[in-house]
Every structure is written in structure tokens, then in C-alpha cells.
Symmetry: C2
Subunit: 301 residues, 2 copies
């Protein structure tokens, strides 16, 4: 699982910083998470193949998370895309994108499928045999969801040395990987656990931006491997959190600690601060494994 | 009069090129012309003060001329703008921007005034005592206008040496600049032309993007000082002009020649060509004074 930060600053695009967008590579999927203005240029800079993006998850309809989407949808068309594009986001996203395409008389020549969200409870929005994605209802000035990306347990791996030792015929290999016992060349039954190795444990990633401090998300994200949680402010500006419905670095760390996460990634920094290191310092007073999102940074999770 | 090219390439934003946007500084106005995605970052890079932009002219509602506008309108709000912003563009532009603001619950705290255009005839869209702006109806895949920016004749300038020589009292200076005759200290009438210098001739700039070759615009832009005319293609790809409703560099030059323009600026290059110098070479076979738009380039007109 690999996470590429395309942009991680709040509010407005600037010369050297970009609004929120991330790419999550997980079991052969390339998921785009949020799409602030300039995302398509950031995708190019980070050498992400446009054609591999088939699912886009939008947390909420503020410009710094969403205004890059119309351009990206149009660019897909100009590049001759034919495969389906699925967009998951708040109710209203379909009307907005459809209106902009209509005004430009620029209908897509590929299937554009909207999955509009309006539930205040967590819901499963995507699932295949390898990955599931569910919403994390957040609390912001407008309807907002985070997203929890979870790998499914992989098949067991064949223990190559054991099958050689017991002379198990390869016609049995698929059954063994699916949990069945085996039979040796001389007809002896061999227990599955002797012939297999456990796969690496499935991983998970929770994306939480933008939101106030909200403990009710804990049951959804408990034991998550990596939590991205917004930290727009430091505690010195905590009075701004109530009005703007954002969190401090310390609050992000509290959520990571209470969720028993392994790692915390901070981002969505207000540009009022001179150094983003201050966010890390504040969060580490509560939770040890803190890293800072930075535009163009890549995390192997 | 100064023109700054923020972006001049067609279709999609790329790592080092931007879609159409220009800033025209004319008699203390700062007019923004078109607003492709990334325009606000280009404004910052080129050190244009956001607060000085009070009028934005949008030629048509294709993404590469328009998708930077929602973000710019939002950024103005975040920067605490209070003064009016006037947006001139095709019918539908108000619905689009209003919907995006509504979805983000992000109403502007400054007056946002739309001037929606739908006429197929040229019309005056802005006028004050120094400048006028009128539309240039173009022909593209969607409803499109160019814009003609014209300075009004300035007041005459006082001939400082002459008023000193004739000992004309300074209480008469304003009247003289407005064309009245003067009176010397000894009571002799002095003709206005003896006391004044002619102001520099008023200048004009025509912005024409995107369009097919269209001679019917000639009466509107005849004798223009500087013509910006799109040149998406070279003549080798002229067969694409009919379908996409664009022009070649040669066609842009034909328009400049027939309009008796002083200078031609080319832009809106398709990214299929290795060098934009090819556009200049092609156009100069028809019209001598050709310059190439380039992102970040500044022209003193």
C-alpha cells in the first residue's frame, strides 16, 4: 500500500503548496482521494498514470477539496478515456459536474458514474475481492465524509519447502492455498497448516479531512494501521476550531491514540504557521508515531 | 498598457504550461481575461495584486478558459475582499458559480455581479471615462466572445514651457487641458494649441480566442494596435480547424493583416508541436509583426 500526497495545505492554492489531494495505491487499485485545484498537474508531476484512476473519493464540496475535479474529468475525455470513472461524493456533486460539462457542451465519451452520499452513518461504498472502502462521517461546516480503505485478507501462501518434502502433487496447490488439507505421494493426509504460510496481515488506511475533534468516529477506525487526520491549527489557535470546524494537531493525536492506530499522518495545515514541524512537535506530546504530509511525499504503508 | 500572459496553451494544464488567462493593465484598471485552472497560482507567481482585479472577462465556458474561476472567486472571499467583482461571460456562468458556492455553503461576503452575455452582435459591456470594452462575437463549438479593450483619448497635456513663457496663471490650467484658450499675464489671449501638447494616441487591444477564421470580426477590430488571435494549429493540421473550430497561425496572420493591426500576438497552441517558433514562422509569411505568447511573458503595448 502506497500513499502519495499531491497536496496537503488548507484554503487556497499557492505558488509552492497545493490544496488537498492524495493517491492511494492498494492491491492494484489507484484511488484518488479529494481533488483540489491543480490536482491534474500534481498527478503529472508525480507520474501517476491518469488511465489507472478509476475511483475518485471526494470528502466534501469545499473548493480546496473539489475544484480540481471538473478539469480532471474534462482531461480524461481529451485523453480519449473509454473506461468507467466512479466518483463518490456528497449529494450535489453530480449536478455540479453535469452542469459544467453541459455549459461547455463537453459530454464525456466514457461512462461517468456518480455515487452520491448523504447518510450520516458509516456505509460501505466500494467492495471487491481485495479491498473495501467505507465512509467515516465527519463534522465540518458542510456535509463531509472521511474514507476507510481496508485490504481483505490475502490467500495463504504455499510453503514451497513443505510441499516438496511431502511430495504433494501440484494439482492440489490451489485447494491448499484456499485452506484444504493435502495428500502426500504415498497417500498420507497432511494438515493445511503444515503446507502453508500465513499471508501478511491486511492493512488499512483512514483519511479524515476536514473535521472537528469527533470521538464518534473511533469505532469505525479502531486499530487502523495509518490514520491521516487533518490538523489545520495548533492548540494556540484552538479557539478557531469551533467556528471553522477544524482540528488541532493535538486533537488529531488524541484520535490516533484512542483509535489505537499505528501511525498518524498530519496535514491540511493553515498557512499562517512558519513551520509545519510545529504540528509534529505538538502531536508527539500525545502520540509517538507522527509523520507530516508534504506535497509530493510518498509513504509506503 | 501592459499585457501579462498567465497561460497560453490549449486543452489541459500540464507541468510547465497553463491554459488561457491574461491580465491587461490599462489606465489603472487590471482586467483579467479568461481564467483557466491554475490562474490564481499564476497571478501569485506574476505578483498581480488580487485586490486590484475588479473585472473578469470570460470568453467561453470550456474548462481551459473557465475552470480557475470558482477557486479565484472563493479565494477572494478567504482574503476578506469587500469590493465589487464584476464577471462578464456567457449565459450560464452565473448558475455555475452560484451552484458551486451553494454546495460549499460558501457565499461571498463581497458583491459578486454577473453580466451574462448572449448576443450574437458586438455590444459595449464596460465603459468609464478612460476605457471601453466591447465584445467580439467569435465562432467556436460553444457560444464565444472575444473582447476589444480601447483607451479613450486622454486630456491634452500642458506645455510647461509655453505657459511659463506667456506667464499664464495656474488657475487656468484645468481649462486649458480641457481645450480652452488661455490669457497671458498682460491680458493677451493665447490659442489653446500654443499652450498644450497632444496626448499619446489612445491604444487598443483585441483578444480573440477561441475561434475559426472569421472575417466578420474585421469591422470591429480594424486598426487595432495589438491583436491576440488564437493559433491552435499550423496549416499542416488545417483540416482539424473545421471540426474543432480553431484557427491556424496563418489564418491568425490573415486576420491581423486584413484588420490593419500593428502587432499580432499568437497563443492557444496545441501541445502536439515540438516548438512554438513554428507558429511564428508560419504567421510571418503573411504578416510581419508577430510575437509569441508565453506563460509569464509581459508585453508593454
Amino acid at each position: 500500500m502506497r500513499l502519495t500526497i499531491l497536496g496537503c495545505y488548507s484554503a487556497t492554492p499557492r505558488t509552492f503548496t497545493n490544496p488537498t489531494s492524495q493517491v492511494l495505491e492498494i492491491r492494484n487499485h489507484i484511488f484518488l482521494i479529494d481533488c483540489g485545484e491543480g490536482t491534474q498537474v500534481q498527478l503529472r508531476k508525480n507520474k501517476i498514470k491518469f488511465s489507472r484512476i478509476k475511483h475518485i473519493f471526494i470528502s466534501h464540496l469545499h473548493g480546496d477539496h473539489f475544484f480540481g475535479l471538473p478539469g480532471l474529468v474534462s482531461t480524461f475525455r481529451l485523453l480519449g478515456r473509454e473506461s468507467e470513472l466512479h466518483i463518490y461524493g456528497p449529494k450535489g456533486i453530480k449536478e455540479a459536474i453535469t452542469l459544467l460539462l453541459k455549459l461547455g457542451d463537453s459530454w464525456t465519451n466514457y461512462p461517468l458514474i456518480f455515487h452520491e452520499l448523504s447518510s450520516k452513518e458509516t456505509e460501505l461504498v466500494f467492495e471487491d475481492d481485495k479491498v473495501s472502502v467505507r465512509t467515516i462521517p465527519l463534522e465540518h461546516r458542510v456535509y463531509t465524509n472521511g474514507f476507510l480503505f481496508k485490504e481483505k485478507p490475502a490467500s495463504k501462501k504455499l510453503n514451497v519447502e513443505a510441499v516438496a518434502k511431502y511430495k504433494v502433487d501440484k494439482s492440489q496447490f490451489n485447494n491448499i492455498k484456499n485452506g484444504k488439507n493435502g495428500v502426500s505421494k504415498d497417500g498420507t493426509a497432511i494438515l493445511n497448516k503444515e503446507l502453508t504460510l500465513e499471508p501478511p496481515p491486511p492493512k488499512s488506511y483512514a483519511f479524515c479531512s476536514d473535521t472537528v475533534y469527533k470521538e464518534s468516529i473511533l469505532p469505525i477506525i479502531t486499530d487502523v494501521d495509518t490514520l491521516y487526520h487533518e490538523s489545520t491549527f495548533l492548540e494556540t489557535e484552538s479557539h478557531l476550531c469551533k467556528k471553522t470546524k477544524h482540528s488541532t494537531a493535538k486533537q488529531a493525536a488524541e484520535i490516533a491514540k484512542k483509535a489505537n492506530a499505528n501511525h498518524l499522518i498530519l496535514g491540511h495545515y493553515s498557512t499562517r504557521y512558519k513551520s509545519i514541524e510545529l504540528f509534529k512537535e505538538e502531536a508527539m506530546q500525545v502520540f509517538p508515531n507522527v509523520v507530516l504530509a508534504e506535497d509530493g511525499k510518498c509513504f509506503e504503508l
